[in-house]
């Protein structure tokens, strides 16, 4: 009897609970075609989800009443989120129109103007890598996500084993990251020491989207934004808790574990605390990068392996939709062997211990918006170098590179124009030493560069917003100081450098004006043309200003008086959309570079211990002409199959070269810039279906000149690297919370080589398994 009473009570409670629950019904449509969108993922909070049927309909039942955020995602469409208040017993019916996402003109970007704008409203060429594209690309590192952007040249010779990579564009030298600005959440991560960027330290799961602005962006961002600006924007939490845990395994016994967790205290409102945590660890046995001939000759050559891990954290508080504070931190540590081991336990290797901390305050009051960022980036770089030549040589390079500063911007929205201005302060410094362990030498170098930047920009809309004009100007003033190059206890390893021993390198300063004027006319929402002029610059890097030492081809002498190099860029472009499904764009640019820095012979020579070698100095000595063309087409074949094709041509030539020494036989006049493919093309297909989602990407990399002299290289035995084609594939499938993905990079196992004859990893297969919630 007692049991029956209990059953009745329990049944009553359960029934009451069921009866008190509510339902959400809905239908999804394509905003442009008004056709139903099937198989899209629909989520309420982080627990309940479903998939739309063939008619685009979905139903979520047995939901407790309360505040929720409904989220809908599907490849080819922009993510949809809406806050809802579900009452008791309510059956909420929704009719939702999803925006096709690949038609990126509809997307809002911030990088080009420091204000939020649709891409189609900005008279500049901009490419956006959307969250869906990030999911569909088989990228191991962040730079590889950019590989299929028109005209973007990725230089990563050894895949994940590369200790450095460069992403360049617009016909600029493929090895020089310093000519393209890279930012994470609007803050530069190009280091002042060498202009380089550590592309290995971010986990792609943390990236929300990447904005690529082509052409000089120095009118807003100052130095480095010569060829363009890349802004990697990280995710901001939207739910009370969300996350992803995964492990993957791949070629060369590569293993990785990673997680990303985030949450908000009050997900249904615009204010409150939010946070995220992320980490990854990866290790790999690696492979022999050296050529077979080198392996035969050098018994100390070993595989180039890797270990790396990173941790990130972000906390923030939103006062309301437009006002908030955010603090983020990052730690990264790697250990990448570079393929030779004599006596040291790890052999030759490189480590980058990176610490980054940033704070942001942003707000809005009526028509005034502001944004203030503080940043501190410290990279402790360590290189162990050992080799056996005449005898055993072992030394370490220890370099502390620090970049810190404050960036601020304010914009005011007038009726038909937005005026933006700001002040940026930055200090970059390097404090480095080469410590020899097989001789007594220690070589020190150090230097600091302070930069002050002031900018103003006006965005004007006329003729019922059909005509848009952006005018901007930035002034940068920089001061180099506290430079020194010293040698302690020199032996034959370094005695030859004593001439350049100077504990008090000459201070120097420079300034740069960076104007920009761009105009566009929009004939209709499907057609627009634009024209733009912009001037960009790249400051000299500290490494060239305060470090002397051996480089390929001779001995480099520091020059603290190096000045920036400049690029004047003229550009025209047009966008057109046909039949709703085909979007095309074309851009043509012409650039003249002044004071480009090249390593040139001073006319003197030095005995480096292996005979006389030329003394080389980075100098502002050449004028460069670059012109090119970029074409892109996106076609939505069906709601589930998207094609992208693009092609880029560039012609990069030195027009005038003034040697430092009249007797220098080297004349680069008429030579082509090295490491720049004249032709780049790619074709991508993204197919979403019930069985498995597939992304296939093919890329053609044209020939590139091996060296500045355009001469036959002793190792490559040619003056150009050969062209090559790569084909990548990613297949993915989700089973509710569980997901799996198979990535195959370089399916054709194409082998390509760097200037030392070292080979790429070839086909690289990774299988990932994880949960998402």
């Amino acid at each position: 009897m007692k049991k029956q009473v209990i059953y009745v009570i329990l049944f009553s409670m359960f029934s009451a609970n069921i009866l008190a629950q509510s339902t959400i019904k809905g239908t999804l449509y394509d905003e442009e075609t008004l056709k139903p969108v099937s198989f899209a993922n629909i989520w309420i909070g982080n627990k309940k989800g479903t998939v739309s049927d063939e008619e685009g309909k979905f139903i979520l039942e047995n939901i407790n009443h309360g505040n929720y955020t409904i989220q809908i995602s599907y490849v080819g469409y922009e993510s949809f989120t809406q806050k809802i208040n579900l009452k008791e017993h309510e059956i909420l019916e929704l009719q939702i129109k999803l925006k096709p996402a690949n038609f990126t003109a509809e997307d809002v970007v911030i990088t080009a103007t420091k204000t939020e704008n649709y891409i189609k409203d900005i008279p500049t060429r901009i490419n956006l890598i959307s969250p869906r594209q990030i999911e569909a690309l088989p990228a191991q590192t962040t730079d590889e996500l950019l590989a299929f952007v028109p005209g973007v040249n990725i230089n990563r010779s050894f895949g994940i084993y590369s200790h450095s990579a460069a992403v360049t564009m617009r016909g600029l030298n493929g090895q020089e990251q310093g000519r393209v600005l890279v930012m994470i959440d609007g803050i530069s991560v190009n280091k002042s020491d060498g202009g380089s960027v550590n592309w290995n330290l971010l986990n792609n799961d943390q990236i929300d989207r990447i904005e690529v602005v082509k052409g000089p962006g120095s009118s807003l961002y100052g130095g480095n934004a010569m060829g363009g600006a890349i802004n990697i924007i990280t995710k901001k939490p939207t739910e009370s808790i969300q996350g992803k845990f995964s492990v993957d395994y791949g070629t060369y016994n590569t293993m990785r574990g990673q997680f990303y967790l985030s949450g908000r205290l009050n997900p249904t409102t615009d204010k409150g605390f939010y946070w995220n945590l992320g980490s990854f660890y990866r290790q790999s046995d690696g492979y022999m990068t050296a050529s077979e001939a080198d392996q035969l000759a050098n018994k100390y050559l070993v595989k180039s392996d890797l270990k790396e891990w990173a941790a990130t954290a972000k906390v923030g508080y939103d006062f309301n939709e437009n006002n908030g504070l955010e603090l983020d931190m990052l730690y990264y540590d790697d250990d990448r062997a570079t393929g030779e081991k004599v006596f040291q336990p790890e052999g030759n290797n490189r480590e980058h211990d990176t610490y980054q901390i940033r704070a942001k305050y942003y707000g809005q009051s009526n028509k005034l918006k502001w944004n203030i960022n503080l940043f501190y980036l410290n990279e402790d770089y360590k290189r162990i170098s050992e080799y056996f030549k005449d005898d055993y040589t072992f030394y370490k390079v220890l370099s502390e590179r620090v970049d810190l500063g404050a960036l601020s911007s304010v914009s005011y929205d007038l009726k038909n124009q937005i005026v933006t201005g700001g002040i940026d302060l930055k200090q970059g410094s390097v404090d480095a030493k080469d410590v020899y362990y097989t001789s007594t030498d220690i070589v020190y170098n150090r230097g600091t560069m302070n930069t002050l930047g002031l900018f103003v920009q006006d965005e004007i809309k006329l003729l019922n917003e059909k005509l848009k004009i952006i005018a901007g100007l930035r002034f940068d003033y920089a001061n180099f100081f506290d430079g020194g190059f010293e040698i302690e206890n020199p032996t034959a390893e370094t005695t030859f450098m004593l001439t350049y021993n100077d504990n008090n390198l000459k201070e120097d300063s420079w300034n740069a004006f960076s104007p920009k004027l761009s105009v566009q006319y929009e004939f209709s929402k499907d057609y627009r043309v634009y024209a733009s002029y912009a001037k960009g610059f790249r400051p000299a890097v500290l490494d060239d200003m305060c470090r002397s030492g051996r480089i390929k081809g001779g001995f480099k002498v520091a020059d603290p008086g190096l000045q920036p190099e400049y690029l004047n860029n003229f550009e025209i472009g047009a966008d057109a959309r046909f039949f709703q499904r085909l979007r095309t764009s074309i851009s043509a640019f012409y650039s003249m570079g002044d004071d480009f820095m090249y390593y040139v012979n001073t006319g003197d020579s030095i005995d480096l211990g292996f005979g006389l070698r030329p003394i080389i100095k980075a100098s502002n000595i050449s004028e460069v002409e670059i012109y090119g063309l970029e074409l892109e087409a996106n076609y939505l074949l069906t709601d589930y199959i998207i094609f992208n094709a693009n092609y880029a041509y560039s012609h990069s030539q030195i027009k005038e070269f003034t040697p430092l020494n009249v007797s220098d036989p080297v004349d680069l006049t008429g030579k082509y810039l090295s490491d720049v493919p004249s032709h780049l093309a790619s074709l991508s297909v993204n197919w979403r279906n019930k069985i498995v989602n597939a992304g296939i990407n093919a890329k053609y990399n044209g020939t590139r000149w091996v060296n500045d002299l355009n001469q036959v290289d002793e190792i490559i035995l040619d003056d150009k690297y050969p062209s090559f084609i790569t084909l990548d594939l990613k297949l993915s499938k989700s089973f509710k919370m569980i997901f799996t993905a198979l990535s195959i990079q370089n399916i054709l196992d194409t082998k390509f080589y760097d200037s030392k004859g070292a080979v790429c990893p070839g086909r690289f297969i990774t299988l990932e398994l994880g949960i998402k919630f």
């Binding site: 050098n298 954290a313 362990y437």
Partner: protein
């Protein structure tokens, strides 16, 4: 959730404050010179050209010995006779070095070691100039022809003590005798007939078989004297004893390879066994299938 935020921030602050640089305590390496009839002793009188023989014993105090330096100090200055990188893990260093007495009335010889903790130790010895001179006899090989790496007919491997050249097949069993090989390549775009030795890594890329040799001799060549033509062919031809061989060799500018060995260059060298010599280049082709012809004078 607040707790997780605090933990994350604390963990990252901890990471930010950690020291990453290698830090070791100091150590006390030790070096001594052996004494006895077999070695040159402190304050010994040795005639010009007489052999100096130093027995060295050293330990790294728990760290590997990574460098041995030998300096000859006279009123005229200091010359680094040896600055050798090494990595001796266990048992320390035990070696014998031979040099020859110079013209100075008094020479102070300083022997230093460094360990992998960059701690150092030194010991020194004074040697006075004795009466007379003791320059020794030499062997002369007027013509040795050596094929470059892609020359399939001429021998590639040379024993400078005997003046014999060996081919790929005849060198088998004689690897420990080989002091010199030659190859041709473009060095930074410049044509370079080159001579080298079995232990030099680059030479092994042209003759990979040398990787397998149990003994890979280290001959070092004075490239500074060679590059600057400090010894003429007439001086080479006139040398009757080892005076020019010893005094023409500048130990601070030596390498296991010598580039740009064109005809009429004279190259001072020192073999792995400590013998001094001179090479005169008679002929040098500028093609990797060609050959180089040399004359050699070497201490007996």
């Amino acid at each position: 959730m607040k707790t997780s935020c605090i933990i994350a921030v604390t963990a990252l602050l901890f990471l930010f404050t950690q020291c990453t640089e290698d830090e070791n305590g100091s150590s006390t390496p030790f070096i001594l010179l052996k004494t006895g009839l077999s070695y040159t002793n402190n304050e010994a009188y040795v005639p010009v050209g007489g052999q100096l023989k130093f027995g060295i014993s050293a330990v790294g105090d728990g760290f590997e010995i990574t460098n041995l330096t030998v300096k000859r100090k006279t009123d005229a200055g200091s010359v680094t006779e040896l600055d050798k990188g090494m990595f001796i893990k266990k048992g320390g260093l035990d070696t014998i070095l031979t040099y020859y007495k110079g013209y100075a009335d008094q020479e102070t010889w300083v022997f230093s070691i460094m360990n992998s903790n960059r701690d150092t130790a030194s010991v020194s010895m004074i040697v006075f100039k004795g009466a007379g001179s003791a320059f020794g006899d030499i062997d002369f090989f007027p013509s040795i022809t050596i094929g470059y790496q892609n020359n399939l007919t001429l021998p590639n491997f040379v024993d400078v003590n005997s003046g014999l050249a060996y081919s790929g097949s005849t060198v088998i069993g004689n690897e420990s005798l080989i002091d010199l090989v030659s190859y041709y390549y473009l060095s930074s775009g410049s044509s370079s007939p080159t001579i080298s030795c079995p232990s030099y890594n680059t030479a092994k890329s042209y003759y990979p078989v040398m990787n397998e040799w149990a003994v890979q001799n280290s001959t070092v060549y004075d490239y500074y004297t060679t590059d600057n033509n400090l010894i003429s062919t007439n001086q080479f031809d006139a040398a009757q004893n080892d005076s020019l061989l010893i005094n023409g060799y500048q130990p601070e500018s030596v390498s296991g390879t010598c580039k740009f060995c064109f005809a009429d260059k004279v190259i001072p060298f020192k073999t792995g066994q400590g013998k001094y010599g001179l090479i005169k280049v008679i002929h040098a082709d500028e093609s990797d299938t060609g050959y180089i012809e040399i004359a050699v004078k070497i201490q007996k």
